[in-house]
């Protein structure tokens, strides 16, 4: 393998001969475009990139990229990813999953992936529905969603993936939407650079089974009012005129207008990616009352799991002077015949 820095790649270098088979209008196309842009510009050799998916529409993605890819089983992609990463820490490992795959059957693995904090990037395509199996309610569907399996409306409250991730001790959480390619590319790049488990919740549209579920916050005309792109160190501001902001009042966050009621820019919360408390509050904001925070919510110091594991190995090799099976077999009580 050559030691020179990897030659420049274009997005076309990251695409395989298999044309994507997502439905026309599916948000996955847009995500795929930004994702392959990120992969092209990654400071990693092409052969060191590995995409691992579970089961679902979004999980078909590996076949459409020209990298090494593994389409595994429903909900368990994080497990395969951890094994691969521990096996070869040089790899750039990406998990592609969905709201059903990661939060229903895969909920357990999702939690432990975050807790383990191996250097793996998770693209969680969240369309609030089970698309591949033709439209059942998912763990992120709003309560009361009418589907084939919930004709009288779903009965469960949805789960919040970023809040879950925070509770498990996530070191990098973020949210993007399929309508903003530039933001997606920027956040995917940041996730790749972060040395730990990076969770990226991608709000995606399923035009066939749950069309428009995110349109209240990401379409032209509403996105300025209903979403806010966070930037570390900058006040959380939104609105068409950039006059609205989020302010902390006791333990509550409230929406205020700069210039009204004596509110100045100094009153607005300055985003702090390193604050566990703030990132949790932002992840837990109620919608549609509040704008949806986009960009990086949390980013903290992190030593990835596989590094700890490698340190133990290095230490043990040093202490025991390498390995020898014949030495091991003859250690302890032996006798001669």
């Amino acid at each position: 393998m050559s030691e020179v820095s990897p030659k420049k790649r274009s997005r076309k270098d990251m695409i395989s001969n298999s044309d994507p088979r997502w439905c026309p209008g599916c948000g996955d196309y847009s995500v795929f475009k930004s994702f392959t842009n990120t992969l092209a510009s990654l400071e990693k050799k092409h052969e060191d990139i590995l995409i691992i998916s579970g089961i679902g529409c979004s999980s078909r993605l590996p076949y459409y990229a020209s990298t090494y890819g593994f389409h595994t089983v429903h909900g368990r992609a994080p497990s395969f990813a951890v094994g691969a990463k521990m096996s070869n820490p040089e790899l750039s490992v990406w998990v592609v999953t969905g709201d059903g795959d990661a939060l229903s059957i895969g909920g357990n693995h999702f939690m432990h992936l975050v807790r383990r904090n191996a250097d793996i990037n998770v693209l969680l395509f969240n369309n609030n529905i089970y698309g591949l199996t033709k439209g059942q309610a998912s763990p992120t569907s709003a309560k009361g969603t009418v589907t084939k399996s919930s004709p009288y409306g779903s009965l469960e409250a949805p789960v919040n993936p970023l809040a879950l991730a925070h509770a498990a001790g996530a070191t990098f959480t973020s949210r993007v939407t399929d309508t903003n390619g530039k933001l997606m590319k920027a956040v995917f790049d940041e996730a790749a650079a972060h040395k730990g488990t990076s969770i990226i919740e991608i709000l995606v549209n399923c035009p066939i089974f749950h069309d428009g579920v995110h349109h209240w916050m990401n379409q032209r005309g509403v996105k300025d009012e209903k979403s806010s792109i966070l930037e570390h160190g900058k006040p959380i501001i939104f609105g068409a005129e950039k006059k609205k902001g989020l302010r902390l009042n006791g333990f509550k966050i409230e929406e205020v207008v700069i210039g009204e009621n004596g509110v100045t820019e100094d009153d607005i919360i300055v985003h702090d990616e390193t604050s566990a408390e703030l990132s949790s509050m932002l992840a837990n904001l109620k919608h549609p009352e509040f704008p949806v925070p986009l960009g990086v919510l949390r980013r903290t110091e992190s030593i990835p799991y596989e590094q700890y594991a490698m340190d133990i190995e290095k230490d043990q090799v040093k202490k025991k002077g390498g390995h020898s099976i014949s030495d091991l077999l003859t250690s302890g009580d032996t006798w001669q015949i």
């Binding site: 393998m1 395989s16 298999s18 050799k45 092409h46 052969e47 060191d48 990139i49 590995l50 691992i52 998916s53 590996p62 076949y63 990229a65 020209s66 090494y68 890819g69 593994f70 389409h71 595994t72 089983v73 368990r76 994080p78 497990s79 395969f80 990813a81 951890v82 094994g83 691969a84 990463k85 521990m86 096996s87 070869n88 040089e90 790899l91 357990n108 693995h109 432990h112 133990i312 190995e313 230490d315 043990q316 090799v317 202490k319 025991k320 002077g321 390498g322 390995h323 020898s324 099976i325 014949s326 091991l328 077999l329 003859t330 302890g332 009580d333 032996t334 006798w335 001669q336 015949i337």
Partner: protein, 670 residues
């Protein structure tokens, strides 16, 4: 007449009564000559501070070819430890040893209950033995519950050593025994020797500052000391082991040593026993270096041997489950080998990580028991269709469901063969003994890589926890790994193009330039590996997957028959039934009958010559610790009439019951 040393007068008085009891019952030696014996022994041993000795004993030592001993106490009493130490030092001494642990699933069941009884059985032999013994010759019971639980195991005339301190009237009656079973003659058919183990231990460690209650935790060493004396064992290895194990707690070292000494001396001093026993070391053993090993350790070491020999990284994905956890524990200690060890969040994550690691170029391994295998099947199936090297170890236990976690069984064979959706063949190997686990683990790894296939290794609780002496092999003589690295041109890689000799596809891993490809659980085109639903392709791939597993039969050596090859009846087994079957077949042949025996290591594929071998016999009997699973497979594959002898009790076969069954079959009875 009673000229004992001052401080031992009390001991002498007690001994007198015990002896009187013995004398009255056995009427063997004159009391006078007996006491002279006691006197001289006591003087000698009271001055002893180093390792115990029994010089000067006037008790006859009887040489015997084999003996079966069982230690029984409450779980948490240390009986497993005592038994294990005794077996170990006997192995080092040179006997053939086989052990069998019989303990409940609970960590510490209520003291004094039958459910909480933990037993450790071992058998010593001066020649090769194959089972840990049917009936017990020497039973050590720490309390009445142990007696009740094990009464059916001790042979008539066997030696019953009971911790008399625990045999209170109340407890005995509560358990349904007589008031004082040790003295009222109700156990007349055995040689009963009551020993105040608790009291002996308490007095021995008193000077170290332990209270009566605290002293109880050392009584397992007291029992061990007594048995060491009874079997004329050299004891220096026990003391050095105690010193090493408890190096950080010197007061524990002293207490254990003193308790051990008290037990040893008791046997020596009191002459509570008619005789001691001596089992000679095995004479005709293959030359080499030996060690003592149990199945779990042997499996783990076999994996490490494969890791080193293949130059591959090993990845162990594990999850705690009885009785497989020890494999995970053992591997986690050897991080100086190029291995990754992950205790995953569940069984599925464990195998998932192993498969992910295999995709990334390591040799993935996972170990579990029956319930865990059930969980792993979906992921195992992914490894089948993606044709990645994977070793799945199933240490079988009593089922179904949670079943009997600490009891042995071999009832996962059908689950292993057929428990996945679709037509999904895997290679299946079974280990027959603790020591053999090493070679089976190595072979499993070698075959998994050579053929790019999952291999399931079947072991069971009796092998995992059972120990035996084992000749350390020369790993450098083991067959090399054949790793199917890509030979195709870069940029034109066909992930499913197969090698002729094995049917294996090539192993290209992330990091290898020019071999990028995608694989997954969907059916795939037979060369490009692209997703394919084409009907003819699916048939072709199904056939290719089956053919590849059949091709593994070229790794199987000619089927060996032992015993009388020309007999009318063949007794065929797999897994841990080996010992009992071998002893039965050998025993029957020695008695003048004619029986053939055969034991399988490969269950899938079966040996190519097996069908014709079986056809040579008028009767084929398959004893199994399940409802006849191998028998079912053989019938369906060969269309032959196979007889099944099934025992599903969480216990291994006994030699006697097998011999009876074989004889019965030979006579045309059921």
């Amino acid at each position: 007449m009673l000229d004992c040393g001052g401080g031992a007068l009390k001991g002498c008085v007690i001994d007198y009564f015990l002896l009187k009891y013995w004398y009255d019952r056995h009427k063997f030696a004159t009391l006078q000559s007996y006491f002279i014996g006691v006197h001289s022994i006591m003087d000698e041993n009271l001055n002893n501070s180093g390792s115990a000795s029994s010089s000067g004993s006037q008790i006859p030592s009887k040489e015997i070819p084999t003996i079966t001993i069982r230690f029984a106490g409450d779980s948490g009493d240390g009986m497993q430890l005592a038994g294990d130490r005794f077996a170990n030092l006997s192995a080092v001494f040179g006997n053939d040893v086989l052990t069998f642990s019989d303990f409940p699933a609970e960590i510490r069941a209520p003291a004094g209950t039958v459910a909480g009884v933990s037993g450790y059985q071992l058998r010593l032999g001066e020649s090769e033995i194959h089972t840990p013994g049917d009936q017990v010759d020497v039973l050590v019971v720490m309390n009445p519950a142990c007696l009740k639980a094990n009464l059916d195991k001790i042979r008539a005339g066997g030696l019953l050593i009971a911790n008399s301190d625990a045999f209170t009237e109340k407890v005995c009656l509560k358990l349904g025994l007589s008031e004082s079973p040790l003295t009222d003659g109700s156990l007349d058919r055995f040689q009963v020797v009551p020993v105040s183990i608790d009291d002996l231990t308490a007095r021995a460690v008193e000077e170290l500052g332990f209270t009566k209650g605290q002293s109880l935790k050392f009584r397992n060493f007291c029992a061990l000391g007594l048995i060491c004396w009874l079997l004329s064992r050299p004891t220096d290895t026990v003391f050095s082991w105690i010193e090493k194990k408890f190096a950080k707690k010197p007061e524990i070292i002293d207490a254990n040593k003193k308790a051990f000494q008290a037990g040893f001396n008791y046997g020596d001093i009191t002459d509570s026993f008619v005789e001691t026993f001596a089992v000679k070391p095995v004479e005709k053993r293959e030359k080499g270096t030996y060690r003592y090993i149990n199945g779990s350790k042997a499996l783990a070491y076999g994996l490490l041997a494969a890791c080193e020999k293949s130059n591959l990284r090993l990845f162990m994905g594990g999850y705690p489950i009885t009785p497989a956890s020890d494999i995970l524990h053992e591997l986690s200690h050897h991080r100086n080998f190029p291995i990754s060890v992950l205790q995953a969040e569940d069984e599925i994550a464990a195998i998932g990580a192993a498969i992910g690691a295999s995709y990334a170029g390591s040799l993935g391994v996972t170990a579990t028991s029956g319930p865990g295998l059930a969980l792993k099947q979906e992921a195992l199936n992914l490894a089948v269709i993606t044709e990645l090297p994977l070793v799945v170890i199933n240490v079988q236990r009593g089922g179904p469901s949670t079943g009997l976690p600490t009891k042995t069984e071999q009832s996962d064979l059908l689950q292993t063969m057929y428990g996945r959706n679709g037509d999904s063949p895997v290679v299946v190997l079974a280990a027959r003994s603790a020591g053999e686990c090493f070679e089976v683990a190595y072979e499993a790894c070698r075959i998994a890589v050579k053929y790019m296939t999952p291999v399931v290794v079947l072991s069971d609780g009796s092998i995992a926890n059972g120990s035996e002496p084992w000749k350390i092999p020369d790993v450098s003589s083991y067959e090399d790994f054949d790793i199917p690295l890509p030979t195709q041109a870069r940029g034109e890689f066909l992930p499913y193009k197969r090698r002729e000799a094995t049917g294996a596809r090539e192993w290209a891993s992330p990091g290898m330039e020019g071999f990028q490809h995608r694989i997954g659980g969907l059916e795939k085109d037979d060369l490009t590996g692209e997703v394919s639903y084409d009907p003819a392709n699916h048939q072709k791939m199904t056939d290719q997957r089956h053919k590849k597993i059949e091709t593994v039969s070229q790794e199987i050596s000619k089927t060996e028959i032992y015993g009388n090859e020309k007999a009318d009846i063949l007794v065929l087994g797999w897994g841990s039934t080996y010992g009992a079957i071998k002893e039965s077949v050998d025993g029957l042949n020695r008695d003048g009958h004619s029986v053939a025996g055969c034991h399988l290591r490969f269950i899938n594929p079966l040996p190519a010559d097996l069908s014709s071998v079986l056809s040579n016999y008028k009767k084929v009997l398959v004893p199994e610790n399940n409802c006849g699973q191998l028998a079912m497979i053989l019938r369906s594959k060969f269309g032959l009439h196979i007889e099944s002898f099934s025992k599903v009790q969480g216990l291994p076969f006994q030699v006697e019951e097998l011999k009876n069954k074989i004889r019965s079959k030979m006579e045309g009875k059921s």
